[in-house]
């Protein structure tokens, strides 16, 4: 019988099993390192300074750093196999579809890390809270909401998935030192966008008003008149319909587009 060449659940299960066999040591060590680092550093800070974490918002920078840095570091290693001839042949020749291989990597990096990290950081929080209770007889004050107050905080999680997708795409291009190379590419890409924006603004507003250096690329531009003592500032936003398109793209399009690009890039791999 001809198998489904795109996706088959039993074959996907086999591939997941194979992926775990190949990588379980690395994942276990990574999990231990993430939990260890995200716990030991705040615990030491509490021991050296009893008031280090009295409120929730004092812990959140560590939480966000761990989420973004750990996640992107793991994802940038997604296709390390392709940097080695031996492992690359094993990866490409194993009878599973490329989609199954890609989804497996996505599950273990983007989704898997997200779930693991929250479980891990919850334990970290409980440990710090326990220490605070023991030392100060007071729990950590719950003054931070992760998805509201303001509501825009939820965009941090959209940014997580977009960055993950960008690093996954980077991993299909760079098989060695992928993290640094991807960071560099993102920086160059952002710089390129900034220059395009500057050129566009210069065309629209002219060069003499320095509009090109005031504003947020592709979103708003600030016009200053008057001076030298009194300045009048006018802010021009892009229209609401365009803002909505940006928002829609940020929420629902960017990450899937980058994942699709990564998938097709993976398809082109040769050894």
């Amino acid at each position: 019988m001809q198998p489904n060449n795109f996706f088959s659940l039993p074959r996907m299960q086999l591939y997941l099993q194979k992926h775990i066999t190949d990588h379980y040591r690395f994942y276990l060590m990574g999990m231990a390192a993430i939990f260890g680092l995200s716990t030991i550093i705040p615990v030491l800070m509490v021991f050296f300074n009893g008031d280090a974490f009295t409120r929730m918002n004092e812990i959140t920078p560590i939480y966000y750093m761990g989420l973004f840095f750990g996640g992107t570091l793991l994802t940038s290693r997604s296709f390390n196999e392709l940097g080695s001839k031996e492992k690359g042949i094993d990866f490409l020749m194993i009878p599973a579809s490329l989609f199954e291989k890609f989804i497996t990597v996505l599950l273990f990096t983007t989704v898997g890390y997200f779930l693991f990290y929250h479980l891990s950081f919850y334990c970290t929080y409980k440990i710090i809270n326990g220490i605070e209770l023991t030392l100060r007889h007071k729990p950590i004050e719950q003054n931070f909401k992760f998805l509201s107050d303001p509501d825009e905080k939820k965009y941090i999680y959209y940014a997580y998935f977009i960055l993950q997708a960008a690093f996954l795409l980077g991993a299909t291009y760079f098989h060695k030192v992928a993290f640094i190379k991807t960071v560099l590419c993102i920086f160059l890409f952002a710089l390129g966008l900034y220059f395009v924006n500057c050129i566009l603004l210069t065309f629209v507003f002219g060069f003499e008003k320095d509009m090109w250096k005031r504003g947020m690329p592709f979103i708003l531009v600030i016009k200053q008149t008057g001076g030298p003592q009194v300045w009048h500032t006018t802010t021009y936003f892009i229209p609401v319909w365009l803002q909505n398109i940006y928002l829609f793209a940020f929420k629902f399009l960017l990450a899937p587009i980058l994942w699709t690009m990564a998938f097709f890039r993976l398809k082109d791999q040769e050894i």
């Binding site: 060449n5 492992k87 194993i94 599973a96």
Partner: protein, 277 residues
């Protein structure tokens, strides 16, 4: 079974490795792909396995475009590369993980091959030498019962007894529906094993004949004095005298000397090819 049509490929621009290459390999044969280092053997095998994409032309294996690397194709082909990866697990765990991908995998046969190669079945793959690992991979490759089996320099790293064990297990594994392609630059390792010869030189297929046709048309002899022989196409001197290739005019049967034939074709290609054309 393997059909390569007008294949062009280059690693770098303006430096073609293959240009308009044609090759057709059928089931039921063990092909020896012979060539010097850097002749393009491994690249050709990678094309067959779908690890490289043709710049022009097609490479079809069992009707599948190899470069698409579809599961239906991958489960019917196994490549034993010269340098390979095995995970850090026991042999049993390796089999349990990898074998289910191959619908015709024969676990009994796998352990028989291991026995043939004197490999203990309870060992960790990481604790093995390179040669032992290679034997595990060859055993696994044969046990998958894939229709196409490709081996790149399989005897590299094997000791002398293992080379004859290798020949024995491969000869036993061949069947009417299987196509085995073995590449090597150590042609003596394939003596008595292959039934068809493909010689690749300067990125071209310069010779492709089955062993039977070769021995029907050419005669391989050892003589003490070259001058006494007529129509010598190629000669090589050694301590026993001179090994020579002549045209087989008397329908006599001689054992093919693969190394001699290989050297003869590389150095004196035209007269030999004229005999076969």
């Amino acid at each position: 079974m393997i059909n390569i049509q007008s294949l062009s490929f280059s690693y770098r621009k303006n430096k073609p490795l293959f240009d308009n290459l044609q090759l057709r390999l059928e089931a039921g044969h063990i092909y020896g792909l012979l060539g010097k280092n850097g002749a393009g053997k491994s690249t050709l095998l990678k094309q067959m396995a779908g690890l490289l994409y043709p710049d022009k032309g097609t490479c079809e294996v069992m009707g599948h475009a190899a470069a698409k690397r579809q599961p239906a194709f991958l489960r019917e082909i196994f490549l034993v590369p010269e340098e390979f990866y095995l995970p850090r697990v026991s042999i049993t765990r390796y089999v349990n993980t990898y074998a289910p991908f191959y619908p015709n995998f024969d676990q009994g046969a796998f352990f028989n091959y291991l026995k043939e190669f004197d490999i203990p079945r309870d060992h960790m793959l990481t604790e093995m030498s390179y040669g032992q690992k290679k034997k595990v991979l060859i055993s696994f490759a044969l046990a998958t019962n894939t229709k196409v089996l490709i081996m790149d320099e399989p005897t590299n790293g094997l000791d002398i007894p293992s080379k004859s064990q290798f020949r024995k297990v491969i000869a036993a594994a061949v069947s009417e529906d299987k196509c085995i392609v073995i590449s090597t630059h150590q042609v003596r390792d394939l003596d008595n094993l292959i039934d068809s010869i493909v010689i690749i030189n300067d990125h071209k297929i310069i010779f492709r004949e089955d062993v039977q046709t070769v021995t029907d048309k050419l005669s391989f002899k050892t003589v003490s004095r070259i001058e006494e022989s007529t129509g010598v196409l190629f000669a090589d001197s050694n301590l026993r005298g001179h090994t020579i290739i002549t045209r087989n005019t008397g329908q006599e049967h001689s054992k093919i000397d693969m190394e001699l034939l290989f050297n003869a074709i590389l150095t004196n290609q035209q007269p030999i090819q004229e005999i076969f054309n």
